[in-house]
Amino acid sequence: MRRIKRNAIISSLVAMSIVVHSAEMFVPSPFPWLRFGFANIIALTAIALYGLRIGLMVTILRVFMGTILVGTFLTPAFFLGMGGGIGSTLVMGFAYRKLKALFSLVGISVMGAYTHNIVQLTIVYLLFIRHAEVFYILPVLLLFGILTGILNGVAAIYLTTYMARFSLAQFESIS
């Protein structure tokens, strides 16, 4: 029974993050490589409510299924999403575990966004474009990442309080 509940939670979180991630394509951005990373809201919520392991699982499944749905599976977009997602989820998970008393979800989300950008740019450099010039873009990404990190963190605070009120909260102990 516990297993079924756990799977139900993971499935609904994965479904939410795929929807949020796809919906993001309709949000206008001045540059195609500047994205808000709204799926991070779900990853952070998963970490805050159910722990790092479920957060990590949600992120990995989201990247797999999301890229299969939009047809970018095993393309650069897939590796970037996977690397950035796993990196930021790990950082946010450990930060939440160890530094929960100090930082709110906003601070943890900003850490995640920063990590996401650095990891993605490193992957671009290591796997795809072996020119140091790719790091030109780093300052812009870092600044923008702080902004999106704050936005996502605030959203995650609302989402966690909202979700905690509903039935999923009763499974809180299982992670």
């Binding site: 393309t75 930082f103 790091f135 870092l142 702080i146």
Partner: protein
């Protein structure tokens, strides 16, 4: 909603991001030469030190590439949207100007040029 450590963290990261602008600039010197390609073939290779105006005969007509003050820009091109002209002036190694309709690419390169620009998929 924000705790004090949150604010310190965000402030610190903003400062790091702002400092990385000049830091990045410091690590990457200005480009040395400009390579002009037509339909994928290199048709010109010029030093950025001298000012000059180069005509490139493409599919649609002549694209004029201008080198001045250590930068490159396209001043006139027969393409419909003039995106290459609107791209303005480029200065740094790795930057490119592209006129897709006329198949003209002007690329700034550093001291050495690698054989492969990018591998994807």
């Amino acid at each position: 909603m924000l705790t004090l450590p949150d604010k310190i963290l965000i402030g610190g990261l903003v400062i790091v991001a702002l400092l990385s602008f000049p830091a990045i600039r410091h690590f990457y010197p200005e480009g040395k030469r400009v390579v002009i390609e037509l339909d994928g073939d290199v048709v010109g290779d010029f030093s950025l030190k001298e000012d000059r105006l180069v005509p490139v005969e493409g599919k649609l007509g002549t694209t004029w590439v201008k080198m001045a003050e250590g930068g490159v820009r396209i001043v006139d091109s027969p393409c419909p949207y003039k995106l290459c002209i609107k791209s303005g002036s480029i200065h740094r190694a790795g930057e490119t100007l592209i006129c897709l309709p006329n198949r003209v690419v002007a690329r700034i390169v550093g001291v050495e040029e690698e054989a492969v620009d990018a591998v994807s998929r």
